[in-house]
Subunit: 200 residues, 2 copies
Amino acid sequence: MPAPIDFYFDFSSPYGYLASVKIDKLAENHGRAVGWHPILLGVVFKQTGGQPLTTIPLKGDYSKRDFARTAAFLSIEFKMPSTFPIATQQASRAFYWVQQQNPGAAKALAKALFRSYFVEDRNISSAETVAVVAAGLGHDRAAMLAALNDPAIKDKLRQECDAAIAKGVFGSPYIIVDGEPFWGSDRLDQVDKWLETGGW
Amino acid sequence: MPAPIDFYFDFSSPYGYLASVKIDKLAENHGRAVGWHPILLGVVFKQTGGQPLTTIPLKGDYSKRDFARTAAFLSIEFKMPSTFPIATQQASRAFYWVQQQNPGAAKALAKALFRSYFVEDRNISSAETVAVVAAGLGHDRAAMLAALNDPAIKDKLRQECDAAIAKGVFGSPYIIVDGEPFWGSDRLDQVDKWLETGGW
């Protein structure tokens, strides 16, 4: 089986959320697995001078409209969170902690966290909320809270962000297929064709 | 017949060029005309703090790759211009000068200018080159060169940029359908569905 494709995202990214709903099935259609990589866009933006879309004049108002419209266009549930954007260190650390034990469970947790934030309007920036969402999937709440403070897990997230930047990741979602980078949920059609044809 | 849809673009915008190839047919499929509005992104970017994609770290290299890949994905001829981005005052003024006499001819000129820049790698920032391209469509070269220096035409372009900003335009391409804004050539699928359904 060929190598997995790589899916980089920030848990606070609406387009990252939209891609997260589609990416596994899309890859599976071509016999490919997907490696999920939560990162911190704030760290990446230090490289590119980027800033959260919704804070930019004109573009900010458009973006909020586009998030909801694009979600509906793709038939994906979406509700603009009342607090946006948020810090996603805790959610990302939770992902990597679970991943060390069980990669499949980490992906299920990521989906639950995305859904908590972008459908149920729960603020997943807090360790407490992340632990509650994880507990809903059977993870031990106290162990999760301890893990979120574990220096090794904090290091793991830093390393993942550094590795992403080294690969050129500058936004969310950012998908790499056999070395070819695709930025944005609106490139999923090209990812699909790239997987089918091997490139053009 | 319902009102035309509005298509804003900068002649130096690769995604604007891609949209320009598709937009008329797309609208025509729904019985709609398209009003073309060349603008100067540099003026718009003063509102938003934007900057040319290709000058941004990481994003710049990606963008050049994405221009060519997306053009091929859409089966549109494209060659990255050797000088990029360029000033597009002259091309835009030429458009508005012709438009005052014949809107259909203005659109034909816009297509020829886009093609000169993004297929034939001719630098359309110069009045001389714009006049040569226009002459190829039967416009009087000397009259065109005079028009490009006409204060009334310069004013017309300024007014068009101001009007675009007043409507919230912050990028290229930017398409407005019955008040609904769409940014980017990757929103043409949504424009298509919006025209079909009247919105969602």
